[in-house]
C-alpha cells in the first residue's frame, strides 16, 4: 500500500494519513484557541491534567490495588478456598468505586451551591453510597458462600493447587 515516495519515506505513512491528521489538528487548533481564551494556563492544566490524572494516577492506582489484593491474600496462611474468589472482591469493589468516582462531589458533600440551587440537602448521599456498597459486598459474599458450599458438597477432591493458578 505504501509506495516509497520521498514523502512516505520522510513522513512514515501515506499522504492520506497526513491530510487527515492535519485537518483534524487544524480544527483542534481553532477550538483550542477559544478554549484557552480566558485563563489559558488553568485550562491547559485541566486538559492535559485530565489525561495525566487518568493514565498516570487512576489506572496505576486501581491496578496496584488489584495486584496487592491478589498477592496479600494469596500469601495468607491456611488452606486456599476451593473456588476462585478474587472476582468476589473485585466486582463489588469496582462497582462501588465507580459509583464514587462519578458521584463523589455529592457523596462527599463537596458541592457548595447544591442546597441553595436545588432546595435539597446533600446529606443523604454518603449514607446511600455506603448502603449500596454494603449491599454489593454482601451479595458478593453470599454468592461466594453458596459457591463454596456447592464445591464442598461435590467433594473435597478439588485441591487448592488447581485453583492457585487461577486466583
Amino acid at each position: 500500500m505504501n509506495r516509497r515516495t520521498p514523502l512516505t519515506r520522510w513522513y512514515g505513512a501515506g499522504p492520506l494519513h497526513l491530510l487527515a491528521l492535519l485537518a483534524s489538528l487544524a480544527l483542534t487548533g481553532f477550538a483550542v484557541q477559544r478554549l484557552l481564551a480566558e485563563r489559558p494556563l488553568a485550562v491547559a492544566v485541566w486538559f492535559v491534567g485530565a489525561a495525566v490524572a487518568h493514565d498516570l494516577l487512576l489506572l496505576p492506582l486501581y491496578s496496584l490495588a488489584d495486584l496487592s489484593a491478589r498477592s496479600v491474600l494469596r500469601r495468607r496462611r491456611g488452606p486456599a478456598p476451593a473456588v476462585p474468589w478474587i472476582n468476589h472482591l473485585r466486582v463489588p469493589a469496582l462497582l462501588s468505586g465507580l459509583l464514587l468516582l462519578v458521584w463523589f462531589p455529592l457523596v462527599l458533600d463537596l458541592s457548595v451551591p447544591y442546597p441553595g440551587a436545588t432546595g435539597l440537602s446533600e446529606g443523604v448521599y454518603l449514607g446511600r453510597w455506603l448502603a449500596v456498597t454494603g449491599a454489593l459486598f454482601g451479595a458478593s459474599a453470599l454468592a461466594l458462600a453458596l459457591r463454596l458450599r456447592r464445591a464442598g458438597r461435590s467433594g473435597p477432591a478439588r485441591g487448592s493447587g488447581e485453583d492457585g493458578g487461577e486466583s
Binding site: 500500500m1 505504501n2 520522510w10 513522513y11 512514515g12 505513512a13 494519513h17 487527515a20 491528521l21 483534524s24 489538528l25 483542534t28 481553532f30 477550538a31 483550542v32 477559544r34 478554549l35 481564551a37 480566558e38 485563563r39 488553568a42 485550562v43 492544566v45 485541566w46 486538559f47 492535559v48 485530565a50 490524572a53 487518568h54 493514565d55 489506572l59 476462585p84 478474587i86 472476582n87 473485585r90 466486582v91 462497582l95 465507580l98 459509583l99 468516582l101 462519578v102 458521584w103 462531589p105 455529592l106 457523596v107 463537596l110 458541592s111 451551591p113 447544591y114 441553595g116 440551587a117 436545588t118 432546595g119 435539597l120 448521599y125 446511600r128 453510597w129 449500596v132 493458578g165 487461577e166
Partner: protein, 479 residues
C-alpha cells in the same frame, strides 16, 4: 496504513557522531552565509537536537512500563479493545449530537444574553431555530446526553485500560507520522476525560473547573470530536478486522478455564508474557456492563421522573424539595439568587415594552386578563427534568399583541433577580407564537411558589429550563 517495520532497521545505520559532524558542517556553512551569530546558534541547536533524537532512537527502552514484558493481562488484545471501541463508536456521536442540539436549544444566535461562546465562529454553522414541538424535545435530548454520558464512563475507562501499553511505546515517536498521531491521541484522551469530567462535575454543581461550564464544555467538545473523528478514520479498519477475528458468541461461552490470550498483534496490545487469567473475557465484558447498568440505575430516574425518580439513588434531583402542588424540582431557589420579599411584593409590576408606550401591570391586572393553560415539563441542561406540570397564565402571543407587535421576532425577558447569567434571555418568534408559551401565574392550580418564580415566570415548550425565566418583571418585544 502499512506496517512501519519496527523503526530504525530500515533507515540507514549511521553513527550519531558522524551525523552531528555533518550537521555541524552544514551549520558552519549556513552561519558563514548569513553572517549572524543567531543563525549559527540556531543551527548548532538543531544539530544537537538531531543527535539527541538519533541517540534516543537507538537507546534500549527504559525499565518498567516501557518494556513489553511489563504488561501481563492475558485478556488485553485487539478484539477486547475493539468491543469497547465499538460501543464508544456508537455512544460518542450520540453524545456529540445531543450536546450540539442542546447548544442550539439556547438559540445562541439571538445574541450574547443567550450565548456564552460568542467567538465560536463557524463552530455554530449548524444552528437553527429551536422548535417548540414536541414539548418533551429538550427533556429527551438532554436526558439522553447526561444519562448516556454517565453510563459510558465504565466503557471509556475500560477502553483506556485496554490500550494503556500504547502510552509507554518505545521509542516515543518512530516517525513524523507517529509523532503527529500521538499528539492527536493526547487531544483524544485529554478531550475525552476533560469532557466527561466537566460534564459530571457540572451536573453536581461542583464548579471547580476553570471558567464557564458552557465555554469549556463546548470548545472542549470540538477538540475531542476532531481527534475522535481522525482516530476513527485511522483505526476503523483495524477495529473491524479485530472484531472479525473472534466470535462474540464464542467468547460468551468461554469460561475462565479456557481463556487464552489473543494471538500476538502488530500494535503490541497482547502481552508477550501473559499472567494466568483471573477473569474470562466474558467476565470483563460483564463487569463493564454491570458498571454501566449500576450507573444507569442510580441516575436515569431523575430524567424519567414519576415513581422511578426515587430509584436514582445518587442523582442530584432524585426527590422533590417539598410536598404539594409546588413540590417539583428547582434549579435556583429565590434565596440562592438574592430575591427578596420586597422585589416581588405589592410594588411588583410587569413592564411591557413594544411598539407603543410602555405599559405596566400589577399581578391583579394580569389575573383579570384571559388565562390559558398548558401542560409542560421543566427540563434542565443538567439532565434532570420534571413530569408535565399544569401551568396557567397569559399567552406570550397575547402579550405581544398587547405590546403592539403581534408578529414580534423576539422578546427580551428580564427577571428581577440581580444581574448574573440567565437573569435575562431572548426568546424567538416561534416560541412567542406557540399557544402553549405562557407567562405563568399559577401552577397545578395554585399560585407559583417563590422558588418557582412568583409572581410570574415564563414557560415555553421544549425550552431549556434556564431560559424559562423566573420572577419576570419586564418583557421587551421586538419586531
Amino acid at each position: 496504513m502499512g506496517r512501519r517495520g519496527g523503526g530504525s532497521p530500515r533507515s540507514r545505520p549511521r553513527p550519531a557522531a558522524d551525523a552531528s559532524r555533518r550537521l555541524g558542517r552544514d551549520a558552519a556553512r549556513a552561519a558563514a552565509r548569513a553572517r549572524t551569530a543567531a543563525g549559527a546558534r540556531l543551527s548548532a541547536v538543531a544539530a544537537r537536537l538531531s543527535a539527541v533524537a538519533d541517540r534516543l532512537r537507538r537507546a534500549p527502552a527504559p525499565p518498567g512500563p516501557f518494556r513489553p514484558g511489563f504488561w501481563r493481562s492475558p485478556i488485553r488484545g485487539p478484539w477486547l479493545t475493539s468491543v469497547f471501541g465499538l460501543v464508544l463508536l456508537v455512544g460518542i456521536p450520540v453524545l456529540f449530537v445531543t450536546g450540539a442540539l442542546s447548544y442550539a436549544a439556547y438559540n445562541p444566535d439571538l445574541g450574547p444574553l443567550n450565548d456564552q461562546t460568542p467567538d465560536k465562529g463557524w463552530l455554530g454553522f449548524y444552528l437553527f431555530d429551536w422548535p417548540t414541538r414536541p414539548a418533551w424535545l429538550y427533556r429527551l435530548v438532554q436526558g439522553v446526553h447526561v444519562t448516556l454520558g454517565v453510563v459510558l464512563v465504565p466503557v471509556l475507562l475500560a477502553k483506556l485500560w485496554s490500550v494503556i501499553p500504547k502510552l509507554f511505546e518505545w521509542p516515543p515517536a518512530r516517525s513524523a507520522a507517529h509523532a503527529l498521531e500521538r499528539l492527536s491521541l493526547l487531544m483524544l484522551v485529554g478531550g475525552a476525560v476533560f469532557e466527561f469530567a466537566t460534564g459530571i462535575l457540572n451536573i453536581q454543581l461542583h464548579y471547580v473547573f476553570p471558567g464557564s461550564f458552557y465555554t469549556l464544555h463546548f470548545y472542549g467538545a470540538w477538540v475531542f470530536i476532531a481527534a475522535f473523528a481522525v482516530h476513527v478514520a485511522l483505526r476503523l479498519g483495524r477495529m473491524v478486522r479485530a472484531l472479525g477475528s473472534r466470535s462474540l458468541l464464542g467468547e460468551l461461552r468461554t469460561g475462565l478455564a479456557d481463556t487464552r490470550p489473543e494471538p500476538p498483534d502488530a500494535d503490541g496490545l497482547v502481552a508477550v508474557a501473559p499472567a494466568p487469567p483471573t477473569i474470562a473475557r466474558r467476565g470483563a465484558l460483564a463487569l463493564v456492563g454491570a458498571g454501566s447498568l449500576a450507573l444507569f440505575v442510580v441516575t436515569a430516574g431523575q430524567s424519567i421522573g414519576g415513581r422511578l425518580r426515587a430509584t436514582a439513588l445518587l442523582a442530584p434531583h432524585n426527590r422533590a424539595p417539598a410536598d404539594g402542588p409546588n413540590g417539583f424540582q428547582v434549579n435556583k431557589t429565590a434565596a440562592a439568587v438574592g430575591i427578596t420579599a420586597a422585589m416581588v411584593g405589592p410594588d411588583w409590576r410587569l413592564e411591557l415594552h413594544g411598539a407603543g408606550p410602555v405599559r405596566s401591570f400589577t399581578r391583579e391586572d394580569l389575573l383579570a386578563m384571559a388565562q390559558h393553560a398548558a401542560r409542560l415539563p421543566i427540563a434542565c441542561v443538567e439532565g434532570w427534568s420534571t413530569g408535565d406540570q399544569h401551568w396557567s397564565g397569559l399567552r406570550l402571543a397575547d402579550l405581544a399583541a398587547l405590546a403592539g407587535l403581534p408578529d414580534a421576532a423576539s422578546v427580551l425577558v428580564d427577571s428581577v433577580q440581580p444581574p448574573g447569567p440567565y437573569a435575562s434571555v431572548v426568546l424567538r418568534g416561534n416560541q412567542i407564537r406557540d399557544p402553549r408559551s405562557l407567562l405563568a401565574l399559577h401552577v397545578n392550580g395554585v399560585d407559583l411558589a417563590l422558588d418557582h418564580g412568583y409572581p410570574a415566570r415564563v414557560i415555553v415548550p421544549a425550552n431549556p429550563g434556564v431560559n424559562n425565566t423566573k420572577w419576570v418583571h419586564r418583557l421587551t418585544f421586538r419586531a
